[in-house]
Each structure stands twice: as structure tokens, then as C-alpha cells.
């Protein structure tokens, strides 16, 4: 069976290659950064298995690694590589030579992912599914990248080394932004474990006038947005706001429809996701990928849509949940 673990090993191997290439150019800090980041991919399951058996030092060592990554990221700045005219000319030249054949491998990533996700339930060897069912979409994405790389090497007749060094160029350009999504999710877990959510729910619950339906609804909606902005993730906000406001006040006291409240409430949280640098993989990583000078450029582009949708969601809830 193809497990997500194998895809992680592949990713870890690529990070190690990036580390080695940087080391050969004597960029030691960058090399160390990617080498540490390779650890959760190469040893992830071993770390978690050890922790489940009561051996804590591997997880603690990983914790030290996380602190180290934070310090290293803060010291190294972001460098966008200069794009000289000779390179631009060479690319235009190659573009006219390869033509539309270049689209094939690029589109192979989404298309192969799509086909594998749809086919995963039917791909079996005897009784064993070929793709780990719980992680089917992620395994499919990983496999699609491998297939697409093969296709790209075939179309461009480039050696694998070129693919790896070009991939590493993009990875170096991403720099700390590549790490941010994982770190923010980690912070979310730390906040949950240290009771930040309960503290906020207690404050929200203590401030709002509970007799007013509108006040409760607004507290729920704005609380979802605010908490999502802080945590970077509506999934983290939902249980907190539901337990603090949604369920006791709106559903049980004012008779709101739970299905509608849950569904639109979650989407109200998504409006917050569009507004926050904490949702780094959606808002900061693309700004770096697209080489925007303003790291909040994508958030700025989303702001009007997010606020308009927030208003729509509040209005929808007000009309629909108290029917």
C-alpha cells in the first residue's frame, strides 16, 4: 500500500538535496535550515511512535529544532534572485522552441491528482487498497508531482539534476515563508493545549448581553472572524465559539437551527482566513511566490471581498437560523 509516509520521505530527500546544494556553495545557514526541516519528514512517524510509547526525547529534540529554525529564519533575510536579461532571453527562446508542450507536465499535476483521487477507491490489490484511503488526496498529489517531473524531464530533455537545482532555487526564494504554515499550525496546537481558546470563550461569554438574539449572533459571527484571524484557521475557532456562544446561547436558548448556524458560521470564519497573515499558506506564501514587495499584498486584494461576504453571511444567518 502506498502510504503518505513514503511521500514524506521523498519530500525529506528533496529538502536534503537542497541542503547539500547550499552547503556546496558554502551557504551554511541555508543548508542547516533545510536539513533541520527535513527531519519531520524523514523521522516523523518514528518521533510520533516513540512519543506514544513514552519516549519523549525525539519529540523534545524536534522542539529544539523548531526553536532553532525560528532563530535562523529571523536572522536570514529574504533574497529574491536577480533575473538578468540573458536568462530572460534564454527562457523566451526555450518557450518558442518547446511551445505548448510545456503545458503538459504543468497540467499533469492537477490532472493526475484528480484522476488518482477519483480512482483511489477502486485501486486495490486483493483486499488491500493501493493508496492509503485516509490520506488519498495527499498521496495523489505527491504521486502527481513525481509523474509530472518525469513528464517535464522527458519534454525538456533536461537531466534530473537540473530539475532538482531549479526546484531548490524556488525553495531558497521561498525561504522562511515555506516554513510558516507548519509553524502556525504548531502554534495553534500550543494555544489549544495551553487553554487560550477557553480563556477567550470565557471573556466573550462574560461580555455579551445574552437576552438579545442579535447581540448573540453578532458576537458569534465576529468572534468567529476575530478568533480565526488570531489562530489563522477557522477549524480552530469553530469549537471554541460554538461551545462558548453558538450552542448554549443561539441553539439552546434562542432556538437557532444548528445545521444552518454551523455551516454558515464556519464560512464566516473563512472570511477571517482571508484577512490574516496567520493563514500563511494562503496569504503570505503566494505573496512570496509571486515576488510581491508587500507581504500583505494578497490580503489587501482579498479585503473588500472578505468584508462584503461577512456582511452577507451575517444577514443570511439572521434570516435563516431563527425561522
Amino acid at each position: 500500500m502506498l502510504k503518505i509516509e513514503y511521500i514524506y520521505w521523498l519530500l525529506g530527500a528533496f529538502l536534503l538535496v537542497a541542503a547539500v546544494l547550499n552547503l556546496r556553495e558554502r551557504r551554511r545557514a541555508m543548508a542547516g535550515f533545510w536539513a533541520i526541516l527535513a527531519c519531520p519528514f524523514l523521522f516523523g512517524d518514528a518521533i510520533l511512535a516513540a512519543l506514544a510509547n513514552g519516549t519523549r526525547w525525539p519529540a523534545q529534540a524536534m522542539g529544539v529544532g523548531v526553536l532553532g529554525l525560528g532563530v535562523m529564519a529571523a536572522r536570514g533575510g529574504l533574497r529574491v534572485q536577480a533575473d538578468d536579461e540573458a536568462m530572460q532571453a534564454a527562457r523566451r527562446d526555450a518557450a518558442s522552441r518547446f511551445g505548448n508542450r510545456l503545458f503538459g507536465p504543468a497540467l499533469a499535476i492537477p490532472l493526475v491528482t484528480l484522476v488518482l483521487v477519483l480512482a483511489a477507491p477502486y485501486l486495490r490489490w486483493g483486499a488491500t487498497p493501493l493508496i492509503e484511503p485516509r490520506q488519498a488526496t495527499l498521496v495523489a498529489l505527491g504521486l502527481a508531482c513525481v509523474v509530472a517531473l518525469g513528464a517535464a524531464l522527458h519534454v525538456t530533455r533536461a537531466p534530473l539534476a537540473t530539475g532538482l537545482s531549479e526546484g531548490r532555487r524556488l525553495l531558497d526564494a521561498l525561504g522562511w515563508a515555506a516554513l510558516l504554515p507548519m509553524l502556525l499550525a504548531t502554534l495553534g496546537s500550543v494555544f489549544a493545549a495551553t487553554g487560550v481558546g477557553d480563556a477567550i470563550a470565557a471573556i466573550v461569554g462574560a461580555v455579551i448581553p445574552t437576552d438579545s438574539r442579535l447581540a448573540c449572533l453578532l458576537a458569534f459571527a465576529l468572534g468567529m472572524v476575530l478568533f480565526t484571524v488570531i489562530m489563522g484557521n477557522a477549524f480552530a475557532a469553530f469549537p471554541v465559539l460554538m461551545a462558548g456562544v453558538g450552542l448554549p446561547l443561539l441553539v439552546l436558548r434562542h432556538g437557532a437551527d444548528p445545521a444552518i448556524l454551523g455551516s454558515i458560521g464556519m464560512l464566516t470564519g473563512y472570511c477571517g482566513t482571508l484577512l490574516t497573515p496567520m493563514a500563511a499558506n494562503f496569504n503570505i506564501v503566494p505573496a512570496v511566490l509571486l515576488e510581491l514587495p508587500d507581504q500583505y499584498g494578497v490580503i489587501r486584494a482579498q479585503l473588500p471581498t472578505a468584508l462584503a461576504l461577512l456582511a452577507v453571511n451575517v444577514a443570511l444567518m439572521w434570516w435563516l437560523v431563527f425561522r
Partner: protein, 234 residues
Amino acid sequence: MNYWPLLGVAVVVAGFVLRRNPVLVVVVAGVVSGVAAGMNPGDLLALLGSSFVNNRALLLMVLTLPVIGLLEHCGLRERARDWIAGFRGLTLTRFLASYLGLRQVLSMLGLTNVAGHAQTVRPLVAPMSEAAAERSVGTLDETERQRVDALAAATDNIGLFFGEDVFIALGAVLLIQGFYAQNGIHLEPLTIALWALPTAIAAFVIHALRLLHFQRWLERSSRARQARRGADRC
């Protein structure tokens, strides 16, 4: 109730407002929050390490980089621009609104990972958006180009978020259903999921109108620039 862990939230807010390096802000916030909750260093390190490992799926997009890097090296972005520039009647609004609709439909069917910032926006959607914009307004200046790119990324996010979980019950719907089930309210996933449809439609309409508005701005901005250039020449 111990309110001290909220200091971690304060660190995050202050860090982002002061535009400090986000990675450092996040690490410091985690440590502050843990210490304020009275955790000992061993527990805190183990919590940091294990949560980091548990969230490693978020870095999977890095696997697309060798493919995208190689294709870009061979001129993929240039080719994407030329190809779009050959379409008659295509405007930025039409191109991005079509992408928004496609992304919403894919997302509704649970196919959230088939597109994304590394997979599709950087290599294809952003250069194509620039080319579509240039079809109607001529060459973009640097500020305009950056705003077009930012809008392409924003369109991808909005399509992803506000299509999610309408027809197939995935992550969010199961979380909602699970929360209610724990509290003794039993709901069918689909009854939750279908209520996401009104917001999905509203998201498409609102964002499409904004794309139209942006295109108008772009046309005004480029006309003003050309007028200035004309005046300089006289």
C-alpha cells in the same frame, strides 16, 4: 480560569503589527503562551516538536517545486502569456471569473488540492492574468502588474474557501457534525453541507463584480499614464 496564556495572542498581534519576521513572532508566541500556562520546559519542547511533526502535510506543496522550477526554466510562464495573448475577446475579468468558477466547482467536489498557489497560480494563472490584462490595456507598469498577480492569488483562495464542502462532506462539515454529535444533536452531513450554497453563490457574484471594478480601474490607470506620457512628449 488562567488568563495568562493570552499573552501569546498579544505577542502575535504585536509582532504582525510591527512587521517583525513572522517565523520568530510565532515561535516566541508559542513559548510565551506555554510558559504563561505553567508548562515545564520538557513538556513544552515535546508539545512543540510533536505538533510540528503532526502538521507536516502543510509543506507538501514543496514537492511541486522541481517540476515548476524546471518548466519555468524552459519558459513556461512566457509560453502561458503568449498563449493567452492570442485569444480574442478575453479580458482579465472574464479570465479570472472563469478560474474562480472552476475552482469553486472543483472545491465543491472535494478536489481542493488539484490547484493552488505553487501548482497553478505562479506558473499559469498569474502570467495568464497579466497577459489577459495587457490585451485590453497595453503594457502594465510594475504596480499594476503586482496588483494583477495579487488578485490572481486572492481569486484562487476565494474559489477554494467558498466552494468547499457544498456537495461532498469533507473536513469542515465533518467537524461541524462531530461537534454537534458530541453535544447530543445528530445531523446528516448533507443537510449541513447544502447550506453552504447561498454563501458560495454570493462569493462568486461579489468577487466577479470586484474583478470588473478592478479592470475598470486598470483601464483608467493606463489611460492616465498614456496621457501623461503624451504630455511629456509635447
